[in-house]
Protein backbone atom coordinates (compact mmCIF):
# COMPACT_ATOMS: atom_id res chain seq x y z
CA UNK A 1 0.00 0.00 0.00
CA UNK A 2 1.37 3.41 -0.92
CA UNK A 3 1.73 6.11 1.66
CA UNK A 4 -1.13 7.97 -0.01
CA UNK A 5 -3.47 5.00 0.25
CA UNK A 6 -2.35 4.45 3.82
CA UNK A 7 -3.15 8.04 4.72
CA UNK A 8 -6.58 7.76 3.13
CA UNK A 9 -7.20 4.55 5.06
CA UNK A 10 -6.27 6.34 8.28
CA UNK A 11 -8.57 9.19 7.36
CA UNK A 12 -11.39 6.78 6.75
CA UNK A 13 -10.72 5.15 10.08
CA UNK A 14 -10.86 8.57 11.67
CA UNK A 15 -14.44 9.12 10.62
CA UNK A 16 -15.91 10.84 13.70
CA UNK A 17 -19.35 9.38 13.07
CA UNK A 18 -18.88 6.10 11.30
CA UNK A 19 -22.06 4.52 10.11
CA UNK A 20 -23.11 1.56 12.17
CA UNK A 21 -26.37 -0.31 12.66
CA UNK A 22 -28.66 2.03 14.52
CA UNK A 23 -26.27 4.93 14.12
CA UNK A 24 -27.44 8.36 13.21
CA UNK A 25 -30.21 10.62 14.24
CA UNK A 26 -33.35 8.95 15.50
CA UNK A 27 -35.68 11.75 16.41
CA UNK A 28 -39.33 12.43 15.65
CA UNK A 29 -41.33 11.34 12.64
CA UNK A 30 -41.45 13.47 9.50
CA UNK A 31 -44.70 15.31 10.22
CA UNK A 32 -43.66 16.25 13.75
CA UNK A 33 -40.24 17.25 12.56
CA UNK A 34 -41.66 19.37 9.75
CA UNK A 35 -43.96 21.10 12.21
CA UNK A 36 -41.00 21.93 14.45
CA UNK A 37 -39.04 23.25 11.46
CA UNK A 38 -41.90 25.48 10.44
CA UNK A 39 -42.21 26.77 13.97
CA UNK A 40 -38.51 27.53 14.00
CA UNK A 41 -38.89 29.27 10.67
CA UNK A 42 -41.62 31.49 12.14
CA UNK A 43 -39.34 32.40 15.02
CA UNK A 44 -36.68 33.43 12.54
CA UNK A 45 -39.15 35.71 10.78
CA UNK A 46 -40.03 37.35 14.08
CA UNK A 47 -36.39 38.00 14.78
CA UNK A 48 -35.94 39.60 11.41
CA UNK A 49 -38.83 42.00 11.91
CA UNK A 50 -37.90 43.42 15.27
CA UNK A 51 -38.08 47.22 15.52
CA UNK A 52 -35.02 49.02 14.28
CA UNK A 53 -33.62 52.52 14.57
CA UNK A 54 -33.85 54.33 11.26
CA UNK A 55 -32.02 57.54 10.45
CA UNK A 56 -30.93 58.90 7.08
CA UNK A 57 -27.36 58.19 6.09
CA UNK A 58 -25.20 61.28 6.17
CA UNK A 59 -22.98 61.83 3.14
CA UNK A 60 -19.91 62.35 5.31
CA UNK A 61 -20.23 58.91 6.77
CA UNK A 62 -21.81 57.13 3.86
CA UNK A 63 -18.63 55.23 3.17
CA UNK A 64 -18.51 54.05 6.72
CA UNK A 65 -22.00 52.72 6.58
CA UNK A 66 -21.02 50.84 3.49
CA UNK A 67 -19.81 47.64 5.05
CA UNK A 68 -21.79 45.05 6.85
CA UNK A 69 -19.53 45.13 9.86
CA UNK A 70 -19.73 48.88 9.93
CA UNK A 71 -23.33 48.82 10.99
CA UNK A 72 -22.23 48.84 14.56
CA UNK A 73 -19.94 51.72 13.79
CA UNK A 74 -22.81 53.47 12.06
CA UNK A 75 -24.96 53.08 15.11
CA UNK A 76 -22.30 54.55 17.29
CA UNK A 77 -21.57 57.45 14.98
CA UNK A 78 -25.18 58.37 14.58
CA UNK A 79 -25.39 58.55 18.31
CA UNK A 80 -22.11 60.24 19.03
CA UNK A 81 -22.34 62.87 16.28
CA UNK A 82 -25.62 64.12 17.64
CA UNK A 83 -24.64 65.60 20.97
CA UNK A 84 -28.22 65.79 22.15
CA UNK A 85 -28.45 62.04 21.83
CA UNK A 86 -25.23 61.21 23.59
CA UNK A 87 -25.58 60.95 27.36
CA UNK A 88 -22.73 61.67 29.71
CA UNK A 89 -20.47 58.71 30.15
CA UNK A 90 -21.94 57.62 33.43
CA UNK A 91 -25.58 58.22 32.46
CA UNK A 92 -27.91 55.48 31.39
CA UNK A 93 -28.59 54.93 27.74
CA UNK A 94 -31.76 53.37 26.41
CA UNK A 95 -31.15 50.42 24.18
CA UNK A 96 -33.29 47.90 22.43
CA UNK A 97 -32.75 44.24 23.07
CA UNK A 98 -34.48 41.38 21.37
CA UNK A 99 -35.34 38.02 22.87
CA UNK A 100 -35.98 35.15 20.47
CA UNK A 101 -39.67 35.86 20.22
CA UNK A 102 -40.24 39.17 22.01
CA UNK A 103 -38.88 42.69 21.93
CA UNK A 104 -38.29 44.64 25.12
CA UNK A 105 -36.77 47.98 25.97
CA UNK A 106 -34.36 48.15 28.86
CA UNK A 107 -32.16 50.78 30.41
CA UNK A 108 -28.60 49.86 31.21
CA UNK A 109 -25.62 51.94 32.34
CA UNK A 110 -23.07 52.77 29.69
CA UNK A 111 -19.51 52.46 30.97
CA UNK A 112 -17.18 55.41 30.63
CA UNK A 113 -14.80 53.47 28.40
CA UNK A 114 -17.59 52.70 25.98
CA UNK A 115 -18.52 56.35 25.73
CA UNK A 116 -14.87 57.13 25.06
CA UNK A 117 -14.82 54.49 22.41
CA UNK A 118 -17.94 55.93 20.84
CA UNK A 119 -16.42 59.36 20.65
CA UNK A 120 -13.30 57.97 19.04
CA UNK A 121 -15.25 55.90 16.58
CA UNK A 122 -17.28 58.96 15.64
CA UNK A 123 -14.25 60.13 13.69
CA UNK A 124 -14.20 57.11 11.52
CA UNK A 125 -15.50 58.85 8.46
CA UNK A 126 -12.07 59.41 7.03
CA UNK A 127 -10.83 56.67 4.74
CA UNK A 128 -8.40 54.38 6.44
CA UNK A 129 -10.30 54.20 9.68
CA UNK A 130 -7.76 56.12 11.73
CA UNK A 131 -10.21 56.67 14.56
CA UNK A 132 -10.95 52.99 14.80
CA UNK A 133 -7.26 52.22 14.71
CA UNK A 134 -6.78 54.77 17.50
CA UNK A 135 -8.93 52.82 19.89
CA UNK A 136 -6.94 51.32 22.73
CA UNK A 137 -6.69 47.91 21.14
CA UNK A 138 -5.10 45.21 23.23
CA UNK A 139 -3.62 44.01 19.95
CA UNK A 140 -3.05 46.74 17.36
CA UNK A 141 -3.41 44.40 14.38
CA UNK A 142 -7.07 43.76 15.07
CA UNK A 143 -8.62 46.97 13.71
CA UNK A 144 -7.02 46.32 10.35
CA UNK A 145 -9.11 43.16 10.13
CA UNK A 146 -12.21 45.01 11.12
CA UNK A 147 -11.64 47.75 8.57
CA UNK A 148 -11.23 45.11 5.90
CA UNK A 149 -14.99 44.70 5.89
CA UNK A 150 -15.59 48.43 5.79
CA UNK A 151 -13.34 48.88 2.81
CA UNK A 152 -14.87 45.89 1.05
CA UNK A 153 -18.28 47.48 1.52
CA UNK A 154 -17.10 50.91 0.46
CA UNK A 155 -15.87 49.54 -2.83
CA UNK A 156 -19.04 47.50 -3.35
CA UNK A 157 -21.41 50.39 -2.53
CA UNK A 158 -22.88 48.68 0.50
CA UNK A 159 -26.10 49.84 2.03
CA UNK A 160 -27.29 49.23 5.56
CA UNK A 161 -30.89 48.08 5.59
CA UNK A 162 -31.43 48.09 9.34
CA UNK A 163 -29.64 47.56 12.60
CA UNK A 164 -30.10 47.45 16.34
CA UNK A 165 -27.59 47.64 19.15
CA UNK A 166 -27.32 46.42 22.69
CA UNK A 167 -24.97 47.98 25.22
CA UNK A 168 -23.67 45.76 27.98
CA UNK A 169 -21.44 46.51 30.92
CA UNK A 170 -18.25 46.08 28.89
CA UNK A 171 -19.55 45.27 25.45
CA UNK A 172 -21.51 46.77 22.66
CA UNK A 173 -23.21 44.45 20.21
CA UNK A 174 -25.02 45.37 17.05
CA UNK A 175 -26.91 43.19 14.64
CA UNK A 176 -27.66 44.31 11.15
CA UNK A 177 -28.61 43.40 7.64
CA UNK A 178 -27.07 45.01 4.59
CA UNK A 179 -26.50 44.54 0.91
CA UNK A 180 -23.96 45.66 -1.63
CA UNK A 181 -23.15 45.30 -5.31
CA UNK A 182 -22.41 41.61 -4.79
CA UNK A 183 -25.78 40.85 -3.26
CA UNK A 184 -27.53 43.03 -5.83
CA UNK A 185 -25.84 41.17 -8.65
CA UNK A 186 -26.56 37.74 -7.21
CA UNK A 187 -30.04 38.16 -5.83
CA UNK A 188 -31.89 41.30 -4.75
CA UNK A 189 -33.49 39.49 -1.84
CA UNK A 190 -30.25 38.18 -0.31
CA UNK A 191 -28.58 40.13 2.45
CA UNK A 192 -25.63 39.95 4.75
CA UNK A 193 -26.61 39.31 8.35
CA UNK A 194 -24.02 40.50 10.80
CA UNK A 195 -23.36 40.55 14.50
CA UNK A 196 -20.54 42.80 15.63
CA UNK A 197 -19.32 42.96 19.19
CA UNK A 198 -16.61 45.06 20.77
CA UNK A 199 -15.50 43.91 24.20
CA UNK A 200 -13.70 46.28 26.51
CA UNK A 201 -11.57 45.50 29.48
CA UNK A 202 -13.16 47.26 32.42
CA UNK A 203 -10.16 48.59 34.37
CA UNK A 204 -7.85 49.41 31.47
CA UNK A 205 -10.47 50.35 28.92
CA UNK A 206 -8.68 48.44 26.21
CA UNK A 207 -10.58 46.75 23.42
CA UNK A 208 -9.81 43.16 24.16
CA UNK A 209 -11.97 41.54 21.53
CA UNK A 210 -13.70 42.37 18.29
CA UNK A 211 -16.11 39.61 17.44
CA UNK A 212 -17.40 39.91 13.93
CA UNK A 213 -19.88 37.29 12.87
CA UNK A 214 -20.83 37.43 9.22
CA UNK A 215 -23.35 35.18 7.61
CA UNK A 216 -25.07 34.97 4.30
CA UNK A 217 -28.37 33.50 3.26
CA UNK A 218 -30.08 31.96 0.28
CA UNK A 219 -28.67 32.54 -3.16
CA UNK A 220 -25.88 34.69 -1.75
CA UNK A 221 -24.74 31.81 0.41
CA UNK A 222 -24.69 29.58 -2.65
CA UNK A 223 -22.64 32.17 -4.50
CA UNK A 224 -19.94 32.39 -1.84
CA UNK A 225 -19.77 28.62 -1.59
CA UNK A 226 -19.56 28.40 -5.37
CA UNK A 227 -16.65 30.84 -5.42
CA UNK A 228 -14.86 28.82 -2.76
CA UNK A 229 -15.20 25.73 -4.93
CA UNK A 230 -14.52 27.25 -8.29
CA UNK A 231 -11.98 29.87 -7.32
CA UNK A 232 -10.38 28.44 -4.16
CA UNK A 233 -7.11 30.25 -4.81
CA UNK A 234 -8.96 33.51 -4.32
CA UNK A 235 -9.29 32.64 -0.65
CA UNK A 236 -6.23 30.47 -0.12
CA UNK A 237 -3.58 32.80 -1.47
CA UNK A 238 -5.51 35.47 -3.34
CA UNK A 239 -7.03 38.85 -2.74
CA UNK A 240 -9.92 37.50 -0.64
CA UNK A 241 -7.59 36.10 1.97
CA UNK A 242 -7.91 38.62 4.78
CA UNK A 243 -4.18 38.51 5.29
CA UNK A 244 -3.70 39.78 1.75
CA UNK A 245 -5.33 42.99 2.92
CA UNK A 246 -6.87 43.79 -0.45
CA UNK A 247 -10.60 44.21 0.25
CA UNK A 248 -11.35 46.34 -2.79
CA UNK A 249 -9.63 43.88 -5.10
CA UNK A 250 -11.53 41.06 -3.42
CA UNK A 251 -14.87 42.78 -3.97
CA UNK A 252 -13.95 43.36 -7.61
CA UNK A 253 -12.93 39.75 -8.07
CA UNK A 254 -16.15 38.46 -6.55
CA UNK A 255 -18.24 40.76 -8.70
CA UNK A 256 -16.40 39.43 -11.70
CA UNK A 257 -17.44 35.89 -10.80
CA UNK A 258 -21.16 36.59 -10.57
CA UNK A 259 -21.76 36.01 -14.27
CA UNK A 260 -19.97 32.66 -14.17
CA UNK A 261 -21.99 31.69 -11.12
CA UNK A 262 -25.25 32.60 -12.82
CA UNK A 263 -24.38 30.43 -15.78
CA UNK A 264 -23.41 27.45 -13.64
CA UNK A 265 -26.01 24.75 -12.96
CA UNK A 266 -27.71 24.91 -9.56
CA UNK A 267 -27.86 22.26 -6.87
Amino acid sequence: MSTEAHVMALLEEGNPAAKAPGAGWSGSDASTYLASLEQRSKRVVQLETKPRQTKPTRPAIAWLLAAAAAIVVGAIILTANDKTDLPPADQPITTTTAAPTTTTTTTVPIPRDLATAQAMMAGLHEPGGAALAALPWANPTVPRRVMWVSEFGAFANAEVLDFSCTVGQNTITCTSSSRDDVTRAVDETSVYSDVFTLAFDGPSGEVVNADWDLSTTGRLNEFFTWTENNAPDLYDDGVCNVDADKPAECAGALLGLVTDFEEAPGP
Partner: protein, 185 residues
Protein backbone atom coordinates in the same frame (compact mmCIF):
# COMPACT_ATOMS: atom_id res chain seq x y z
CA UNK B 1 -47.49 23.00 -0.43
CA UNK B 2 -49.39 20.06 -1.79
CA UNK B 3 -49.95 16.66 -0.30
CA UNK B 4 -47.53 15.36 -2.89
CA UNK B 5 -44.87 17.72 -1.56
CA UNK B 6 -45.49 16.55 1.98
CA UNK B 7 -45.28 12.94 0.90
CA UNK B 8 -42.06 13.64 -0.95
CA UNK B 9 -40.60 15.40 2.08
CA UNK B 10 -41.59 12.56 4.38
CA UNK B 11 -39.95 10.12 2.02
CA UNK B 12 -36.73 12.13 1.94
CA UNK B 13 -36.74 12.52 5.68
CA UNK B 14 -37.40 8.89 6.50
CA UNK B 15 -34.83 7.61 4.03
CA UNK B 16 -31.98 10.00 4.52
CA UNK B 17 -32.24 11.71 7.89
CA UNK B 18 -29.50 9.51 9.33
CA UNK B 19 -27.19 10.19 6.39
CA UNK B 20 -27.74 13.93 6.69
CA UNK B 21 -27.32 13.89 10.46
CA UNK B 22 -24.08 11.92 10.14
CA UNK B 23 -22.81 14.33 7.50
CA UNK B 24 -23.48 17.26 9.83
CA UNK B 25 -22.03 15.52 12.85
CA UNK B 26 -18.82 14.63 11.03
CA UNK B 27 -18.23 18.27 10.28
CA UNK B 28 -19.75 20.18 13.14
CA UNK B 29 -19.77 17.78 16.05
CA UNK B 30 -22.72 16.30 17.90
CA UNK B 31 -23.65 19.58 19.58
CA UNK B 32 -24.39 21.36 16.34
CA UNK B 33 -25.54 18.44 14.22
CA UNK B 34 -29.21 18.69 15.16
CA UNK B 35 -29.45 22.37 14.33
CA UNK B 36 -27.58 21.92 11.08
CA UNK B 37 -29.82 19.04 10.08
CA UNK B 38 -32.82 21.23 10.81
CA UNK B 39 -31.42 23.89 8.49
CA UNK B 40 -30.85 21.29 5.80
CA UNK B 41 -34.36 19.87 5.94
CA UNK B 42 -35.90 23.31 6.24
CA UNK B 43 -34.15 24.27 3.01
CA UNK B 44 -35.17 20.97 1.48
CA UNK B 45 -38.79 21.60 2.43
CA UNK B 46 -38.74 25.11 0.98
CA UNK B 47 -37.25 23.78 -2.25
CA UNK B 48 -39.06 20.47 -2.31
CA UNK B 49 -40.32 21.15 -5.83
CA UNK B 50 -36.69 20.97 -6.98
CA UNK B 51 -35.97 17.65 -5.28
CA UNK B 52 -34.80 15.02 -7.75
CA UNK B 53 -36.04 11.48 -7.95
CA UNK B 54 -34.89 9.08 -5.28
CA UNK B 55 -31.69 7.98 -7.02
CA UNK B 56 -30.27 11.48 -6.76
CA UNK B 57 -32.11 12.67 -3.67
CA UNK B 58 -29.31 11.95 -1.22
CA UNK B 59 -26.82 13.75 -3.45
CA UNK B 60 -29.22 16.71 -3.51
CA UNK B 61 -29.48 16.67 0.29
CA UNK B 62 -25.70 16.44 0.60
CA UNK B 63 -25.46 19.47 -1.65
CA UNK B 64 -27.77 21.41 0.66
CA UNK B 65 -25.92 20.11 3.71
CA UNK B 66 -22.62 21.14 2.17
CA UNK B 67 -23.89 24.68 1.62
CA UNK B 68 -25.29 24.81 5.14
CA UNK B 69 -22.10 23.59 6.78
CA UNK B 70 -19.95 25.77 4.56
CA UNK B 71 -21.81 28.84 5.70
CA UNK B 72 -21.36 27.78 9.29
CA UNK B 73 -17.62 27.31 8.90
CA UNK B 74 -17.19 30.43 6.87
CA UNK B 75 -18.66 32.37 9.75
CA UNK B 76 -16.51 30.58 12.30
CA UNK B 77 -13.47 30.96 10.08
CA UNK B 78 -13.87 34.69 9.84
CA UNK B 79 -14.38 34.95 13.53
CA UNK B 80 -11.37 32.76 14.13
CA UNK B 81 -9.11 34.81 11.88
CA UNK B 82 -10.08 37.85 13.89
CA UNK B 83 -9.82 36.24 17.27
CA UNK B 84 -6.43 34.69 16.71
CA UNK B 85 -5.04 38.18 16.50
CA UNK B 86 -6.31 39.21 19.89
CA UNK B 87 -3.62 37.97 22.21
CA UNK B 88 -5.45 38.66 25.41
CA UNK B 89 -8.31 36.34 24.55
CA UNK B 90 -6.41 33.20 23.72
CA UNK B 91 -9.50 31.15 23.02
CA UNK B 92 -8.89 28.06 20.96
CA UNK B 93 -11.85 27.28 18.72
CA UNK B 94 -13.18 23.78 19.29
CA UNK B 95 -12.23 21.06 16.88
CA UNK B 96 -15.38 18.95 16.93
CA UNK B 97 -13.91 16.38 14.62
CA UNK B 98 -10.73 15.72 16.54
CA UNK B 99 -12.58 15.77 19.85
CA UNK B 100 -14.82 12.94 18.77
CA UNK B 101 -12.12 10.71 17.42
CA UNK B 102 -10.99 8.47 20.19
CA UNK B 103 -8.67 6.34 18.18
CA UNK B 104 -5.01 5.65 17.90
CA UNK B 105 -2.65 8.53 17.63
CA UNK B 106 -1.83 8.07 13.98
CA UNK B 107 -5.47 8.31 12.98
CA UNK B 108 -5.97 11.38 15.11
CA UNK B 109 -2.89 12.95 13.55
CA UNK B 110 -4.26 12.47 10.05
CA UNK B 111 -7.64 13.90 11.01
CA UNK B 112 -5.89 16.87 12.60
CA UNK B 113 -3.95 17.43 9.39
CA UNK B 114 -7.22 18.18 7.60
CA UNK B 115 -7.31 21.51 9.38
CA UNK B 116 -4.05 22.45 7.68
CA UNK B 117 -5.53 21.95 4.24
CA UNK B 118 -7.73 24.46 2.49
CA UNK B 119 -11.42 24.07 3.20
CA UNK B 120 -12.06 22.80 -0.32
CA UNK B 121 -9.32 20.17 -0.09
CA UNK B 122 -10.53 18.99 3.32
CA UNK B 123 -14.13 18.75 2.19
CA UNK B 124 -13.37 16.73 -0.91
CA UNK B 125 -11.34 14.27 1.17
CA UNK B 126 -14.16 13.93 3.71
CA UNK B 127 -16.71 13.33 0.97
CA UNK B 128 -14.52 10.55 -0.39
CA UNK B 129 -13.37 8.96 2.88
CA UNK B 130 -16.38 9.50 5.13
CA UNK B 131 -19.37 9.72 2.79
CA UNK B 132 -17.80 7.25 0.35
CA UNK B 133 -18.84 9.29 -2.65
CA UNK B 134 -17.41 8.70 -6.10
CA UNK B 135 -15.72 11.57 -7.91
CA UNK B 136 -18.83 11.96 -10.05
CA UNK B 137 -21.00 12.23 -6.95
CA UNK B 138 -18.54 14.62 -5.35
CA UNK B 139 -18.73 16.74 -8.47
CA UNK B 140 -22.47 17.16 -8.15
CA UNK B 141 -22.29 17.95 -4.43
CA UNK B 142 -19.62 20.58 -5.00
CA UNK B 143 -21.17 21.80 -8.24
CA UNK B 144 -18.03 21.25 -10.28
CA UNK B 145 -17.27 19.08 -13.31
CA UNK B 146 -16.39 15.37 -12.81
CA UNK B 147 -12.94 15.99 -14.25
CA UNK B 148 -12.37 18.85 -11.84
CA UNK B 149 -13.55 16.69 -8.95
CA UNK B 150 -11.15 13.92 -9.91
CA UNK B 151 -8.25 16.35 -10.22
CA UNK B 152 -9.03 18.06 -6.94
CA UNK B 153 -9.41 14.79 -5.10
CA UNK B 154 -6.08 13.63 -6.42
CA UNK B 155 -4.46 16.94 -5.50
CA UNK B 156 -5.99 16.90 -2.03
CA UNK B 157 -4.75 13.35 -1.42
CA UNK B 158 -1.26 14.36 -2.44
CA UNK B 159 -1.33 17.40 -0.18
CA UNK B 160 -2.58 15.42 2.80
CA UNK B 161 0.05 12.77 2.21
CA UNK B 162 2.77 15.41 1.98
CA UNK B 163 1.66 16.87 5.31
CA UNK B 164 1.58 13.41 6.82
CA UNK B 165 5.08 12.62 5.65
CA UNK B 166 6.36 15.95 6.86
CA UNK B 167 4.85 15.41 10.30
CA UNK B 168 6.00 11.81 10.64
CA UNK B 169 9.23 11.20 12.55
CA UNK B 170 12.15 10.60 10.19
CA UNK B 171 12.93 7.19 11.71
CA UNK B 172 9.38 5.95 11.38
CA UNK B 173 8.85 2.75 9.47
CA UNK B 174 7.09 2.78 6.14
CA UNK B 175 3.36 2.51 6.77
CA UNK B 176 2.96 -0.76 4.96
CA UNK B 177 4.69 -2.79 2.31
CA UNK B 178 2.94 -4.18 -0.69
CA UNK B 179 1.46 -3.36 -3.99
CA UNK B 180 0.46 0.19 -4.58
CA UNK B 181 -3.25 0.61 -4.66
CA UNK B 182 -4.91 3.67 -6.08
CA UNK B 183 -8.48 4.15 -5.11
CA UNK B 184 -10.76 5.16 -7.91
CA UNK B 185 -13.69 7.28 -6.92
Amino acid sequence: MTNRSETQFEDLYSRYRSDVWLYCRRRLGADRADDAMGDVFLTAWRRIEEAPESADALRWLYRIAYLTVSNHWRTLGRRHRLKTRVESIGVTPPNPIADQVVVREEVRAVVDLLSRLSASDAEILKLAAWEHLSSTQIASVLDISPDAAKQRLSRARRRLTALYEKARPVDASPPMLGKEVRGEH
